[in-house]
Symmetry: C2
Subunit: 421 residues, 2 copies
């Protein structure tokens, strides 16, 4: 007998019929003899409807009240799923994040989990009940106010509960069959991955893969929670996120997949005085505007001029604010100009295998070159190579890399030894 945590997103519970289907799956799992804890997001349109109501009554709603408002959505969906389970003859009880022991920071709209104390859930499980927990919410340890967890909050709720309850698996139900070697809409022969390590999934998620939130994957990695991504529309086994790249025998390490990201823009600050501290001031200016920088490239100084260019990428939606902040600081820092380019795309190759297999970088660059794609910026980690290219070329870049590393079809790609990395 196992303890299974399942998470269902908003589209899985968007109406009464979907709710009943979800309830059937939950009861099936329970009948197999497992303890089941289920995290449910708000019904499909609810959050948007509540946001719309809020906008109608107030141009700038206080964050505390926005959290009180939005958490009603998960309360509704969890109670309805519990009712549906009950009508199938099983016991079920729903709990708010607060009742489930999700203790968080006080930052409304983007709270972080501080501690999980799920005693009430354990008691309910011991009584034979299926347990429902409202995702995306908790209670502030300081003010005792209700908080919401920001992006990826429902997935993170599920993983955090799985960790605290020492669950055997945390199943994330979605509308795709699992994690793919690339986006199947771009690469028709993309394969579903049976398994993927935490570190590789982190890189995929950080570089554009949307099936799991970075935050929940990191939480799972920290607490060693096996994460299974499955479709809520069928019974396929999906993909398992588990294990560390350290555990993979060197010979078996592979290239896992290609992710892509259309959500970034590129900013170049030209003619930055090449004195200590100037780069820091540029990044501080952007950070003070509450903007996260992704990739950074600092070019070599223009000879003699003692000036350099600094290029970085950031979320496209933050572009205008970053430009405003830098322009305001221009006189103080003394750069020549700041340029904004939103027509960029980022493509990333991910795989534990690249650590120990020379030649990956060469194969990577050759594949893009053969496809006529120009590399504008490159950035690497131990298990990832990312480049920025023109956004119109992004799909072609994904396909080129996927093919070059033989990620499609029946075999996983194995990198050939021979050329230096």
């Amino acid at each position: 007998m196992a303890l299974v945590v399942q998470k269902y997103g908003g589209s899985s519970v968007q109406d009464a019929d979907r709710i009943k289907k979800v309830a059937e799956r939950i009861v099936r799992t329970h009948k197999e003899g497992h303890d089941v804890v289920v995290v449910v997001s708000a019904m499909g349109d609810t959050t948007d409807e509540l946001l719309d109501l809020a906008e109608q009554v107030s141009p700038a709603p206080p964050p505390r009240e926005m959290d009180m408002l939005l958490t009603a959505g998960e309360r509704i969906s969890n109670a309805l799923v519990a009712m549906a389970i009950h009508s199938l003859g099983a016991q079920a009880r729903s709990f708010t994040g607060s009742q489930a022991g999700m203790i968080t920071t006080s930052k409304h709209g983007d709270a972080r989990i501080v501690q999980v104390t799920p005693q009430r859930l354990r008691d309910a499980l011991d009584e034979g009940s299926i347990v429902l927990v409202a995702g995306f919410q908790g209670v502030s340890q300081d003010s005792k106010d209700v908080t919401t967890l920001g992006r990826g909050g429902s997935d993170t709720t599920a993983v955090a509960l799985a960790a605290a309850l020492e669950a055997d698996v945390c199943e994330i139900y979605t509308d795709v069959d699992g994690i793919y070697s690339a986006d199947p809409r771009i690469v028709p022969d993309a394969q579903r991955l049976d398994t993927i390590t935490y570190e590789e999934m982190l890189e995929m998620a950080a570089c554009g893969a949307k099936v799991l939130h970075l935050r929940s994957v990191e939480y799972a990695r920290r607490y060693n929670v096996p994460l299974r991504v499955r479709s809520s529309y069928n019974d396929k086994p999906g993909s398992l996120v588990s294990g560390s790249i350290e555990e993979i025998p060197v010979e078996k390490a592979i290239i896992t997949g290609v992710s892509h990201d259309r959500s970034e823009a590129k900013i170049t600050v030209t003619g930055v005085p090449d004195t200590p501290g100037m780069a820091a001031r540029i990044f501080r200016t952007v950070a003070d505007a509450d903007i996260n920088i992704d990739m950074v490239l600092q070019n070599i100084s223009h000879s003699g001029a003692r000036r350099t260019d600094i290029t970085f990428t950031l979320p496209r939606t933050d572009g205008p604010r970053a430009m405003a902040a830098l322009t305001a600081a221009q006189a103080e820092i003394g750069f020549i100009e700041v340029l904004h380019d939103s027509e960029v795309g980022k493509v990333s190759l991910v795989g534990a295998g690249m650590r120990n297999h020379p030649g990956v970088t060469a194969t990577f660059c050759e594949a893009l070159s053969n496809a006529g794609i120009n590399i504008e910026t490159m950035n690497t980690s131990e298990i990832r190579i990312s480049v920025i290219c023109r956004v119109e070329q992004l799909d072609a870049a994904v396909r080129a890399l996927h093919a070059a590393f033989e990620l499609g079809g029946a075999e996983q790609a194995v990198v050939h030894a021979g050329s230096g990395r």
Copy 2:
């Protein structure tokens, strides 16, 4: 500076525009220098929509989950009102019943308030905030589950908070201008009452007046909370419920109003063996079916036959169940037959004045007789006379009594001394 509790019902907050109007009134009150605590019901259609969703997923939803579901409605409306107040430049914070310290029994769907510990509300008021509290809900002292309070729950929430916070007044906002001497839709010259005692209001509410729930009036009486009924559509002062009939000087006591009730049915059990305990068994049979009996009439035994008839009234919706229960017990109790009559109406005259003014009963009966209305059953308390008549004659009965006691127009009715009561 006073502490004012205000309660707004579902129609007062049925859409964004109404919510903004309510927020304006609240802020106006606050700007006058008062501490303001506001109880808001769910937005107009929300509760029905949630009930409908519940019905779609489950034929018999567990009560605990129904409470989790329905309380989302008040959470939403209170957060929205708080946001609207904020957009007018004032501070506001919304709280659930649980956060506000509404401790209740465990009976889901019909919980009773056990204790109110509003410390968080006091702290918020001390910080200068307007406080919103979700009505109709609390938390069970035993299971820590969320509960709803049953009928009259939002009004009762407001009164209970007013009592616990020692408020100067509890204002119930509704869609009529106050409490009237009779239903203005039946009696065109019915007058708005400036004030009415707790006991008189209790009688009016118990006998059909719908403007306030019996439960909230009794709670106000117990804790001496001044209750003001006002319209949310204008600034008229409304009617104040305050004081006991004991405080009214004998000479000033008056007849206050006429209430009517179309919601009852009448059951007559004929030929009941006239032996000790038979009446008790009939009433126990009905009570065991969880039905409340209102008026009772036991006729004098048929001479020689040692049998009697017992007539009582009850909510019309409970009629069929009561008939079924009595019919099932017929052999055991030994009565001849049980008759059901749903075409009855109840009209009541209420007023502290009748205690000390002889002749009220006579004037009462003469007024009905002159209007051609037959009295089928009569029942009195210290300050009320009620009769059952044919439901088609109910409106005429109301008008006849209202006129006979001169409750219309500019003067309150004063009862004339002269004939015994």
